[in-house]
């Protein structure tokens, strides 16, 4: 059963009562919220995600609700909590949805230390994965959204989750948050992309969430093997430039951008070294999405034929 099978009434009842039990990739999340500001957006954007089966364990119990006490009367606020504790300052109530999306990422990034977590977008074709490790602001989400609406499968926009046992990538096809100008870029580039409402003046500017293609959500149990590292940079009016990158530089960029490289000690070192050794590494400068996509398609075809 998927979230979309629930009518709005049942959906709201679960959110306000026992919680909505939803599966994002390898994680089961229970979300509680009495807030309309959250439920309306969530019902639309979470529609293709599976509900957690009866007996399965929940990994993270999160909630977004108005804080108790005086503050609720002063300004309407929403407080994100995990297991009954609120690690963050409250948000304005209109930003309840991005707060939960962000909060769940935070849960994963700070707790899932049984996996190596790279900070990277990951897309897949024919079982082979292309990773885009990047710092925010380098256009990783824009490029990733364009790719997954052009024949690539989304593994994740934010997390390269690597299973230490076999070095394979686990999908975590969550919503893709587009920021500021990227929202309009994607609307023009792929009018069929399903984009949620824009949230203005968040801590990251304007944010709107892209719902990944249904196929990516349905295939969230299919792992992929790392094959290419591409370090993208969007530069206005820049000509397309795809250059091989040295392995040592790629190693350093991957390791220093990971969420928990430091925590996993030797396991992390070995996994990153092995991934970088077996992958082709490139830097990519681009301004035009069509050109960038064509170059990456070409790259995936030529190295597959080798």
């Amino acid at each position: 059963m998927i979230v979309g099978d629930l009518g709005r009434g049942e959906f709201d009842k679960r959110l306000a009562g026992p919680g909505l039990r939803v599966r994002f990739g390898p994680f089961n999340i229970r979300i509680g919220s009495p807030l309309d500001a959250f439920a309306g957006v969530a019902h639309q954007l979470y529609a293709p995600y599976p509900l957690v089966e009866e007996n399965a364990l929940i990994d993270f119990h999160v909630r977004i609700a108005s804080p108790r006490g005086l503050r609720r009367w002063v300004r309407r606020q929403a407080c994100f909590s995990l297991d009954g504790q609120s690690p963050f300052a409250p948000y304005t109530i209109e930003h309840a949805f991005p707060a939960v999306e962000w909060g769940i990422n935070w849960c994963i990034a700070t707790r899932a230390h049984h996996l190596l977590m790279l900070h990277s977008a990951v897309v897949e074709r024919d079982g082979l994965a292309m990773l885009f490790p990047a710092s925010p602001g380098d256009g990783k989400s824009t490029l990733c959204t364009a790719l997954v609406h052009s024949g690539w499968r989304l593994l994740s926009d934010e997390f390269g989750l690597i299973r230490p046992e076999d070095g394979l990538l686990l999908p975590l096809p969550r919503l893709i948050p587009l920021k500021n100008e990227s929202i309009e870029v994607i609307r023009r580039f792929r009018p069929e992309a399903l984009i949620g409402p824009a949230f203005y003046n968040t801590r990251k500017g304007t944010v709107a969430h892209v719902r990944p293609p249904v196929d990516s959500v349905q295939r969230a149990a299919e792992t992929a093997r790392p094959r290419w590292f591409v370090f993208p940079r969007w530069i206005a009016h820049s000509p397309l430039d795809l250059q091989p990158m040295s392995k040592s530089q790629a190693f350093l960029m991957v390791a220093s951008n990971a969420f928990n490289y430091e925590v996993l000690d030797e396991t992390a070192y070995r996994l990153v070294a092995q991934m970088v050794a077996q992958s082709d590494c490139y830097s990519l400068c681009y301004s035009d999405l069509d050109e960038a996509l064509a170059a990456l398609d070409e790259l995936s075809r030529s190295s597959r034929d080798e």
């Binding site: 040295s246 392995k247 040592s248 350093l252 390791a255 490289y261 000690d265 030797e266 070192y269 070294a273």
Partner: protein, 109 residues
């Protein structure tokens, strides 16, 4: 610490340096140190200092001669300060130890 005669100071590979994991790409060495859970990036000179101490303790001078020979440089061509900096850095990372001046070291090695 006998700063007056830096070349006469002797160094030995620390225990922590015996179990390093090495990954060489081009002239860059990416090295994992299990004792500290740190990943280091060393250039060839720094890597050669560690390699030359693997056989046993050496005076700073002797270490430098070996590194210069391995790099194909003339004796004295390595910049003194750079070499001293690399030694101090390796010591700080716990990969080499400075021997107390009393310890006997074979000059001829």
């Amino acid at each position: 610490m006998g700063n007056c005669q830096p070349d006469r100071e002797a160094f030995v590979l620390a225990e922590a340096a015996r179990s390093l994991i090495w990954q060489a790409w081009d002239e860059v060495y990416i090295i994992y140190q299990a004792s500290s859970a740190e990943t280091h990036v060393f250039n060839e000179t720094t890597a050669l200092i560690l390699r030359s101490l693997e056989q046993g303790p050496l005076l700073a001078e002797g270490t430098r001669n070996r590194v210069e020979a391995a790099l194909g440089l003339d004796p004295g061509e390595l910049v003194e300060e750079d070499f001293a900096f690399a030694l101090a850095r390796l010591e700080e990372l716990g990969l080499i130890d400075r021997l107390d001046p009393v310890s006997p070291v074979d000059d001829r090695r």
